[in-house]
Amino acid sequence: MRFRRSAPCARINLAASSIRAQGALLQALFVALLVFASMTHAQAIEPMPFASHAQELRFQHLIAQLRCPMCQNETLADSNAPIARDLRNQIFQLMQQGKSDEQIKQYLVDRYSDYVLYDPPLKPGTMLLWFGPLLILLGGAGVVLVAIRKRNRDGIAADMTSDSGPTDNGEDW
């Protein structure tokens, strides 16, 4: 049995495909949404008193890497959820206190687990994730090399020597 938790993301997100429509469940969702939306109007747009443009950039970069714990795959930067707003404010406070990016991320991980990091940390568990593509690439490169070698050795085809001048045979284009 799955329960829909309250304080859903006030922003209805939709892009590549279509909307989740579950009839009665959607109704309940909207009711919850309205109940909350009518009380406080959480928005991701919040002017904050940054000391400098560089600080603003650092903040934007940071919150774009962090995941909203509540929502279905949204960053803290994009989410309207109340928890996202609270966390953005908290991150701003921590920045004002002089904490580094690493310390801020650690603060959040201590409370919400690695889930909030869109950049998976390099741990024994995530070795496969970070090195997998390299292994796949190396494996594929090995296969390609073998294929090229095999072709190279097969010195067949008279047309190999007859290729001269501008390509005008029907084969080229």
Binding site: S6, V35, F36, Q72, D86, R111, Y112
Partner: protein, 180 residues
């Protein structure tokens, strides 16, 4: 032989997906496992809901285990959970601490008047900053904290009779084993 490689790779994938479907039926996908399990609960000082000038702190609650239940008047699922709390709360054998999350006090009081108040202690966190220390990200959530102030169990979502019977009560029993 190498031509069978794609086939075997695909079989692995299907096994993974089969597992995924099964796992989904057992777990709530939106629930994040708490990194605070078996760690000390964060220190907090929060005003009481009905007496805003008085406060309750973590040290006040040490010495006896308690169930910290995060709720709010705007939370639809809390309304579903509340009757369960009222029915089963007294039988649990632990203190019931109500944590009103991001709520205007009047709304909370009205909601409790309407739905009933099973809590022994009621604290309010309107700004929601202390809740961040607990790793709270919505309501309802429930924490079982033992007499030494360590979080021993967390449940995300409403407490149903099923959850109370299969998870919460055994967790409370485990507590009692530690402190005879």
């Amino acid at each position: 032989m190498s031509r069978l490689l794609p086939f075997f790779g695909f079989v692995l994938l299907v096994v993974l997906f089969g597992f995924g479907i099964w796992w989904n039926t057992q777990h709530d996908q939106s629930a994040i496992p708490s990194p605070l399990l078996n760690k000390p609960a964060p220190a907090f000082v929060l005003p009481k809901l009905y007496e805003p000038t008085a406060t309750v702190s973590k040290s006040d609650l040490l010495g006896k285990p308690y169930l910290l239940n995060v709720f709010a008047s705007w939370c639809v699922e809390c309304g579903v959970e509340h009757p369960v709390l009222q029915a089963e709360g007294p039988t649990l054998g632990v203190l019931l601490v109500g944590y009103d999350y991001k709520d205007a006090p009047e709304d909370a009081k009205r909601w409790l008047a309407e739905h009933g108040n099973p809590y022994n202690v009621l604290i309010a966190d309107q700004p929601g900053n202390t809740a961040i220390d607990f790793g709270v990200y919505g309501a309802p959530e429930s924490f079982l904290i033992d007499s030494k102030g360590v979080i021993r169990y967390k449940h995300i979502g409403p407490l149903t009779p099923d959850v109370v019977a299969t998870e919460l009560k055994p967790a409370i029993a485990a507590l009692q084993k530690d402190t005879p």
